[in-house]
């Protein structure tokens, strides 16, 4: 009964969308997510992580996941058995997109499938699917240069 493990509201805690700058060039946009649980996890427990912008799924190869000062490809997450995601730490998801967040963009949806690694009671591990939604607004924060 996965109804008893529900912290999805934590995923987007105080998060905003920012454009990503290198010098004066905008090469993408980024936002923060938290791990939706009462405890931290290892990135190897993330089985799937998808992002939709206004309903359209972002190419996984255009996404980067940054945590603990390191940047990962989404495809690498399952291999990161020593990368701990502390429950108060924010991971940054960057979407590589020339010019940044498209004008008029409204909503970002994240879906994360994650294994709960200690739930080996009587068999398989519990795997949850968490959802989070972020309204883009027009409050796109600018980077410090």
């Amino acid at each position: 009964m996965a109804l008893d493990f529900q912290y999805d509201e934590l995923m987007f805690s105080k998060s905003t969308v920012k454009n990503s700058y290198a010098g004066d060039v905008v090469y993408g946009y980024e936002f923060e997510i938290m791990y939706p649980s009462y405890r931290g996890t290892f990135l190897s427990c993330i089985e799937k992580l998808t992002v939709k912008l206004d309903g359209v799924e972002i190419d996984q190869k255009k996404m980067r996941f940054t945590l603990n000062g390191k940047q990962f490809l989404i495809s690498e997450l399952p291999t990161l058995c020593h990368e701990y995601w502390f429950v108060l730490d924010r991971a940054v998801i960057t979407v590589l997109q020339d010019g940044g967040i498209p004008a008029g963009a409204k909503q970002i949806d994240v879906e994360m499938v994650h294994r709960i690694p200690y739930t080996g009671y009587f068999g398989e591990y519990l795997t949850l699917t968490s959802h989070g939604t972020l309204q883009v607004d027009n409050h796109v924060t600018e980077a410090i240069k």
């Binding site: 493990f5 529900q6 934590l10 009462y38 291999t79 108060l88 294994r115 690694p117 200690y118 080996g120």
Partner: protein, 321 residues
Amino acid sequence: MKKMNEKIELGVSLYSLTSEFVTEKMGLEDCLRAVAEMGFKGIEIVAAQTVPEYPNPSDKWLFEFRDLLAKYDLKPVCYSAYIDNGLRPDRDLNHDEIVQFTYNDMLYAKKAGFSMIRTQHSISPQILEEMVPACEKLDIMLTIEMHHPHHPRVEVWEKYIELMNKYEHLGVVPDFSIFQRKPHRLLVERLVRAGFREDKLNSVLEYHEKGIPCENAIGELSLNAEEAQFTRDLYEKFNPTPLDDLKTLIPITPYIHGKFYILDNGEFDPCIPYDKILPMIQDLGYKGYIAAEYEGHHFDMSVDARQQLRYYASIFNKYIN
């Protein structure tokens, strides 16, 4: 008997304050100050929640934490560890990794002043016994939590219980979720939000309470497929082990998880029979901490956990001492 204290005393797992902690309404020191003010004496931390550097807290963190506990006159009772057996996508943790995690957690616990770690049943009887010399050398109790849906007749537990009777430094931490007899209010509310028609659900809960079999409920109450599945889950989950198991457990119990989900007052838990449990463990001679372990945040993060802890302390005081 695993006598960890002169009497039964009330502790708290900081896990109870999950909602306040993970939403950053309360920092670690705020949590400690709050529980000290409420009268809790002993502290448990869930390292994977509390320690930013998990799984390898630095000496700096551990010593600062130890000093923080001293500042609020709180006793470090239990350092809660995990066996994150499913950490890797390709295989379970292997022997050496489980030993490494467990031994490290014992070292970290010792450094921060704890004399006990609580681990999980997937440690395996072999590794549990293998750790005994380290337990003795460090003088650290190594305990396994018995949590719902486990009970003393689960096969692996029969072996654990044997080892816990044999070795002074091994023990069980019963989590009183094993005695939960019906779903708590927050779960009921969640089921309703998930689409279980309220009147149907109430009828199911009546059937369950009266001991009418699950298939009767499903057959007689015109449930839809989803409701029927929830009903099966409810019957499976709320099938508590007998309180008599305490007679097996208490002699090997150095510490208890006083699990609760939601309390409406400081008198009575409708879900877990503390009115029977607390007198019984006293009669059985238990001497140690019971950690208030509030878990309602799993279902509703807006509940005031401090109020819940006060209610729990009140129930505890009603029966103990």
